[in-house]
């Protein structure tokens, strides 16, 4: 590094630049933007889970305000196609409005246009969709059986993709002294960013582009997908993400509604706005997390893992979403189920199953939350079978620090860290001994104490090879950043990722400040606009700080070189005798500020050296970590709970996270990501589920039925950082955006089962609701 860390550079707990506008209600979200002549959309959505559409009854006076797929198809609009190159993948096509058949409740079947949303809803309420109902797949395990109704008629079965990882473990199975099996399930959920999805589409007559202002995490990818569907060149499409009110994955796809809005804006030559309301979200975006595992672990008498085998099903819903496809989640299960553990025998078969539910979208943690839930239950199951403390068995099976870097059974390259130490620190921090003593004593109110642990490692900032392997419409390569020194000595950064709460306007400024010394107040980040930023696959997979942050550092270093060259000339010094420090180029005792150098380039070019870089103080630089395997952050979560055996309720008494994010650019932001992730994980663990009835109707469509954790349901999470810089990235950073949401269901499940053990009861599925816990207790009592 050219400059020592400063109070605003890498590692500083800097207040966010974003805060001021957001705290004054002056943010700019899609729904805040109106344009002259703007029309609003309301979608007519399928009331049934599976049916043929016989026709529509549209009142004559609204004929001009209602559109169906027939109108779009006539205009040459193409369905959304998200194909995976993995062998055997079955292709689904998703028309933006249903084409003769509906496959889930909430699927858009027609769209109504009016001056206000309320009036558009008035029209929608008068549209009658005449349907012939078909048999329904509501359960993925039933959907794979012979004779199940087919979601896509031309397929041989309802499986998007089957994968097989590992080899035979028959030898281990025959000889292992310990064998434990479990059936484990996670529920279908909604991601619930507080801002729903939103889009405002208009035709920019001057630029001759369709401009989609959308709450998206991946503007460049949406641009590509939208151009494909509209059948136009990508140069005719611009996607802009304004302030985005949370994403978590839900805003990481091309949505049918976006295609409809863009098409109508072109067709009607009017700005078109759609904002997803909460009921639409809870019904049509019930799209994540639903896994089922049949899993067996083999171990020796001390609990050392000898092998693992599993069949895993993921309910992928009805269509393949763009760009991640219907198989990403299940296929990932196969490659990451072994978790952070070191063992030699593994077999996993996975199925991405098509059902009559909304298409699966990767949610924060993606497959890891389910995988961790399964694997960490197995560690506790092995520990129980050998009569040892689960944390001991866990620590002994984790990859030890002396083996780092380590290639695991599925060829994941763990970069660094001390996984067992995270367990030991979690044991100490939660105060396990104290809880064990309290368990022995018993609680005066009859509640039962339990302590649970869960450890994971998270591959973040995925590389090129793995995504090339998936063969989906998006492969991350080099990430780029643009840097421009402004004539007054400030800095503009342009990145293709998108910040929707992660604070990148601040943290990327910290990175540039670290290199250049320009005050972060004078550093402006431009992001989330295909017209203004370099191409990027966007913000997903805990990648932005590693990838785009690395690109910002790289661009800043190259800018520094150009500044030094001009500075050396102005100082009458040799370039190699100069340093850039504290926002100025120094040569001995003399110095010239970046501001003066910028002034020279822009306003006094007659003073420039003859050999100056003609690219000036503006450049684009690309970056990839030294390893293509991404980074591996890891953590152990420890939780103490009190379970009320009469009501089945769970109170979280303490929650500790011991984690290793490598170098933290802004520890305050890292803590915020972890706490937020834990809250979502608690939702997955204890509250969140979209139940379906036998006809495929979702039974939760408001926040009265679909519970997300509030202030009193989330504890004051305590965080302990272990800092092992990644050997492969700028500054040693690791991706951490998703990690918090991975371990809570596993840790809570283990804690609840620790509490219930005296009753002989056990839960293995999430959410662990009062009903689930009471029925487990009742089952044990039988």
């Amino acid at each position: 590094m050219d400059t020592p860390p400063t109070a605003a550079g890498v590692g500083a707990r800097v207040r966010r630049k974003e805060d001021e506008r957001l705290l004054r209600g002056r943010g700019r979200f899609v729904g805040d933007i109106a344009m002259p002549g703007m029309l609003e959309l309301a979608f007519v959505r399928s009331p049934v889970a599976h049916a043929r559409i016989r026709g529509f009854e549209i009142p004559e006076e609204h004929r001009d305000a209602v559109f169906t797929w027939a109108d779009m198809a006539a205009a040459g609009i193409r369905p959304i196609r998200a194909v995976s190159g993995l062998p055997g993948f079955k292709v689904s096509e998703q028309p933006a409005l249903a084409d003769g058949k509906v496959r889930f409740v909430g699927e858009p079947v027609a769209v109504c246009v009016a001056a206000t949303r309320a009036e558009a809803e008035d029209i929608a309420a008068q549209i009658f969709v005449d349907v012939d109902e078909l048999p329904v797949n509501t359960d993925m395990l039933e959907a794979v059986k012979p004779g199940a109704p087919k979601v896509h008629e031309h397929w041989a079965d309802n499986v998007f993709l089957e994968t097989n990882v590992g080899g035979s473990i028959a030898d281990v199975a025959a000889t292992a002294p310990i064998k434990v099996s479990r059936s484990i399930r996670t529920a279908r959920q909604c991601m619930v960013p507080m801002e729903g999805k939103g889009v405002l589409a208009h035709w920019d007559r001057q630029a001759e582009q369709i401009v989609l202002t959308a709450s998206t995490q991946l503007p460049h990818i949406v641009r590509a997908g939208l151009a494909e569907c509209l059948g136009i060149e990508q140069g005719l499409v611009r996607v802009i993400a304004p302030d985005v009110g949370g994403g978590f994955g839900w805003k990481g796809l091309l949505q049918p509604e976006e295609v409809v809005a863009a098409w109508l804006a072109m067709k009607l030559d009017r700005p078109i706005r759609w904002t997803e309301d909460r009921r639409e979200h809870l019904v049509a975006a019930a799209n994540c997390r639903e896994h089922h595992y049949e899993i067996t672990a083999y171990a020796d008498e001390r609990g050392k893992l000898l092998g693992l085998e599993a069949d895993a099903w993921v309910d992928a819903g009805s269509y393949s979403v763009y760009p991640f496809s219907a198989c990403l989640e299940a296929a990932q299960v196969g490659s990451i189920l072994p978790g952070p553990y070191d063992f030699q025998n593994y077999r996993c078969r996975t199925f991405s199953v098509a059902t009559n539910k909304p298409p699966i979208v990767p949610y924060r943690g993606v497959a890891r939350t389910g995988v961790c839930f399964a694997m960490e239950q197995m560690i506790d199951a092995v520990a129980e079978a050998v009569g040892r403390e689960p944390w001991e068995v866990r620590a002994e099976n984790l990859v030890p620090p002396e083996k780092m870097p380590f290639d695991n059974i599925t060829k994941k390259h763990f970069d660094s860290g001390d996984y067992p130490e995270s367990v030991r620190q979690a044991v100490a921090a939660i105060g396990l001994e104290g809880w064990r003593a309290r368990q022995t004593q018993g609680e005066p109110d009859g509640r039962m104490i339990g302590v649970g642990f869960a450890t994971y490692c998270e591959q973040a900032a995925h590389g090129t090879a793995v995504y090339h392997g998936w063969g989906i419409p998006m492969v991350p390569g080099h990430e780029q950043a643009q840097a421009r020194v402004t004539p007054d000595g400030g800095l503009e950064l342009r990145v293709g990722v998108q910040s929707h709460g992660q604070g990148m306007e601040t943290t990327f400024a910290q990175v540039a400040h670290e290199v250049l010394g320009i005050p972060i107040a004078k550093i402006k980040l431009v992001h989330g606009d295909t017209g203004l930023t370099p191409y990027s696959t966007g913000t997903w997979g805990s990648r932005s700080m590693v990838m785009a942050g690395g690109a910002v550092a790289t661009a800043s270093r190259q800018i520094a070189e150009r500044l030094r060259k001009i500075g050396a000339h102005l100082l009458q010094a040799r370039v190699e005798d100069t340093v850039l420090r504290g926002g100025a180029v120094h040569a001995g005792a003399a110095s010239v500020s970046i501001k003066e150098i910028a002034h020279t380039w822009y306003r006094a070019p007659q003073l420039l050296p003859a050999d100056v870089d003609r690219g000036g103080l503006e450049l684009t630089a690309g970056y990839k970590p030294k390893s293509d395997h991404g980074t591996f952050s890891y953590a152990t979560h420890a939780v103490a709970v009190a379970v009320d055996p009469d009501l089945g309720t769970v109170e979280i008494l303490d929650y500790v996270v011991v984690e290793d994010a490598g170098t933290m650019v802004n520890p305050m932001v890292v803590d915020g990501q972890i706490c937020g992730g834990v809250a979502q994980g608690i939702g997955t663990a204890l509250y969140e589920r979209v139940p379906y009835d036998e006809t495929g109707q979702p039974l939760s469509s408001t926040f009265a039925d679909y519970l997300i954790p509030g202030f009193t349901e989330v504890p004051h999470v305590r965080i302990i950082h272990m800092v092992t810089p990644s050997p492969y990235t700028e500054f040693g950073v690791k991706g951490i955006g998703e990690g918090g949401a991975i371990a809570p269901p596993a840790a809570l499940c283990n804690a609840i089962n620790d509490a219930l053990r005296p009753l002989g009861a056990r839960v293995t599925s999430s959410p662990m609701t009062p009903d689930a816990i009471l029925s487990a207790i009742a089952e044990a009592g039988r």
């Binding site: 207040r15 805060d19 004054r24 805040d32 709460g501 937020g676 926040f703 009265a704 202030f711 009193t712």
Partner: protein, 159 residues
Amino acid sequence: MTKTITLTINGRRVTAQVSPRTHLADFLREQQLLTGTHLGCEHGVCGACTLLIDGQPARSCITYAVACDGRAVTTVEGLDADPTAAELRDAFSAEHGLQCGFCTPGMLVAARDVVLRKPDADDRQIRVEMSGNLCRCTGYVGIVNAIRRVLDARKTNAG
């Protein structure tokens, strides 16, 4: 089917035509261009749309504009000069009590009410009093810390 209402919005007297079905948040956002009030659920649970009616926090998504005739409405934009809100803004930033910022206007209005109405609240009481506002980003820790910071500072200054 419109009605004429006259109300005070952020200290300004406003007369407007509203459809009775237009809720207060839509009226403020679409007709008054005050987009700081956000809509997160439109059925009264999430709290993103919380603002002040006659000084008391209220849900603007399930309160109809027509019912606010004669009332004084204060949105987050109207709290710029409010000293309690200023303390909270500073504390929210210092404690990282916001990420995406979508729930934040409602959070500030609710937090201001807690500071004024429950000056002796402990952390548990802060959480109970704030439980009508949902956040999906922060895990609430930063928000609780921010309110704690303001309450503590007020006690120190008073003592």
